[in-house]
């Protein structure tokens, strides 16, 4: 069935008709743009697209990403400039960045991501200006939040948000995450990993996720507990995640008293420290572990 929609205006023009009307609820249909300056110039300043997790759907960032990706390939750069000029009306597209660390607007893309930008004109236009096209940046050194790749989809005049059915919350901690389906053990571990990376638990059970330089310098890491499934797996029967305190330092202190003069590389050296550490960690009610209750609630 065909459909024509005019939103929120009457036909007031007596000289030629309203041919198109965009109202609040239809704005999501509109493609993004990049605004030229008063001289018709668009300056692409590149960017540092490194290992961090990121996602963007704005035209400016995606165009910069494409520019950095295409740098050095004249044909691709020309195509990019043409796409931008056609879409924005710009007269000039300047590439104002450099691959030299000491140069202005030093720009790079992590090697794993190079070459992902579309190579045809229509696909490139869609990639840059369609807000349903997302640029994701990731790495394999850390875990993404389960919701990281969930983005709103604009379809049939509506913005369709992800339909989450379960939420993971942690007792005493403000952040949570969600799932579209009931999570299995692996998903729960990934979610906790993502939520609790860089989060510390104090002796009195307070969470500390301050990642500022000052916090990192002043934190007493020897007495702070960190989330770890490696040293103590999740207790999925009782929904408990474990935070672990540094036992190595205490083990080494204990080793110094009895074996302090032994050769560090020998049997009574660091291997002994490891043994002591393992004993400290495996003691019943070990003070090196703190359990935190988590919940998977149906939404």
């Amino acid at each position: 069935m065909g459909k024509l929609i005019r939103k929120n205006v009457f036909e007031t023009n007596s000289s030629s008709s309203h041919s198109l009307s965009i109202a609040d609820e239809t704005k999501e249909f509109v493609l993004d743009t990049i605004y030229p300056d008063q001289n018709g110039v668009i300056e692409l300043t590149g960017g540092e697209f490194g290992w961090e997790w990121f996602k963007h759907n704005d035209a400016q960032t995606k165009a910069n990403y494409a520019a950095v990706d295409f740098e050095g390939n004249k044909d691709l750069v020309d195509m990019l400039d043409e796409v931008i000029r056609e879409q924005t009306g710009a007269e000039v597209v300047k590439h104002a960045f450099t691959g030299d660390y000491d140069g202005p607007n030093w720009s790079y893309i992590d090697h794993d991501s190079v070459g992902l930008v579309p190579r045809t004109k229509s696909e490139l236009k869609n990639f840059i200006f369609n807000k349903n096209s997302w640029l994701f940046g990731s790495n394999d050194n850390s875990t993404a939040d389960p919701t990281f790749y969930d983005v709103p989809e604009i379809k049939d005049g509506k913005q369709i948000l992800p339909d989450y059915k379960y939420e993971l919350t942690i007792e005493g901690y403000k952040k949570s995450t969600k799932f579209k389906e009931q999570p299995d053990k692996e998903k729960i571990e990934e979610a906790l990993d993502s939520l609790l990376q860089g989060v510390y638990l104090s002796n009195n059970g307070a969470f500390d996720d301050d990642s500022s330089i000052m916090a990192q310098l002043s934190r007493d890491r020897r007495n702070a507990f960190e989330f770890s499934t490696w040293k103590k797996p999740l207790d999925l029967e009782n929904n408990i995640a474990f935070f672990v305190k540094d036992a190595w330092s205490d083990a080494r202190d204990e080793w110094k008293v009895e074996f302090g003069n032994e050769d560090w590389q020998g049997e009574l050296g660091y291997k002994k420290v490891r043994e002591i550490e393992e004993r400290l960690l495996s003691e019943e009610n070990s003070p090196y572990f703190k359990g935190v209750k988590f919940y998977i609630n149906e939404l």
Binding site: G2, I5, S14, S16, I22
Partner: protein, 294 residues
């Protein structure tokens, strides 16, 4: 709330009290009647050409309005509109809200036509009381106000607050910056018109000026500034608005042309106000003229 729900050819047309119009149809759209008709009811305007000075405040007026212009014969216009079904929109360019025009609006309202009136910003204060009466009586649904950058902005708050008020601006005649500033003055909806190479403005359109370029570069910003932004066909072309849509969205929101123009003062029909193809009333009527256009 729906104020119109009617069948037109193979289409069902629904119009709500906020002006939203939804047309649904099977196959290709085939209309028996125009969806709306643009009507000029007067050639008199205080901002038009003054024959004594040879100058016009709106020197770009494509309608070639004059300070000594005249009003149409409303009876003849009413006869022309006979036979149209309720729900059709009449877009009336009225430079002055005369008693005769008010009577015509009342007649059209009784017939179930949706009347939308556009007046010049400079006439709003003068006709304010009558405008408010016409709105409260339901004679006028949509109110167009032709913005003029050079005039003091003294539009009464009541009219700014009226949900169906739309400011008409001309891309390139009005500066982009001044139109963008209207949002801060309380304007919620705008209609962007292209600059017509017609009437007093014949031969004056130059899309390469800085003023025109700024519209081309920055129009997209207005979508964020106003609650509704509309374009006429000429503006769609001059500002290359299609670039902001994918094919699917464009097909839903681009209304196309399903209207025509009546110059009731000079008694002729034309495909649009800027078309030189004029058909005299004596040679046709509303329904047969619309069929001829298809």
């Amino acid at each position: 709330m729906l104020i119109a729900d009617y069948k037109n050819g193979n289409a069902r047309v629904k119009i709500s009290e906020t002006g939203t119009r939804e047309i649904t149809f099977e196959g290709d759209l085939e209309l028996d009647y125009p969806l709306n008709i643009d009507i000029r009811v007067s050639s008199q305007c205080a901002f038009g050409l003054n024959p004594k000075t040879g100058k016009a405040f709106c020197s770009f007026c494509h309608e070639e309005a004059r300070t000594d212009g005249s009003e149409c014969d409303y009876n003849a216009l009413m006869n022309q509109l006979e036979g149209l079904p309720p729900g059709i929109e009449l877009a009336i360019g009225g430079n002055s809200l005369t008693d005769n025009l008010v009577k015509f609006l009342a007649w059209a309202n009784r017939r179930g036509y949706i009347c939308n009136l556009t007046i010049n910003q400079g006439h709003v204060q003068r006709d304010y009381a009558k405008l408010m009466d016409c709105i409260s009586e339901g004679y006028i649904k949509g109110l167009g106000i032709s913005y003029r950058e050079g005039l003091a902005f003294n539009v009464p708050q009541d009219l700014l607050d009226y949900e169906n008020t739309v400011f008409h601006v001309i891309a390139g005649i009005d500066s982009f910056v001044s139109v963008e500033a209207l949002a801060k003055q309380g304007v919620k909806k705008i209609l962007i018109l292209g600059e017509k190479d017609f009437g007093f403005n014949k031969g004056n359109v130059d899309l390469s000026t800085q003023k025109h370029k700024e519209w081309l570069w920055w129009t997209r910003k207005l979508f964020d500034d106003f609650s509704a932004v509309s374009f006429d066909n000429l503006a769609l072309e001059q500002l290359r608005v299609k670039r902001f849509f994918n094919t699917e969205a464009w097909s839903v929101f681009n209304q196309g042309e399903h209207s025509f123009y009546i110059n009731a003062v000079e008694k002729y029909f034309a495909p649009s106000s800027r078309s030189p193809k004029k058909t005299k009333w004596i040679d046709s009527n509303v329904l047969s003229y619309f069929k001829e256009l298809l």
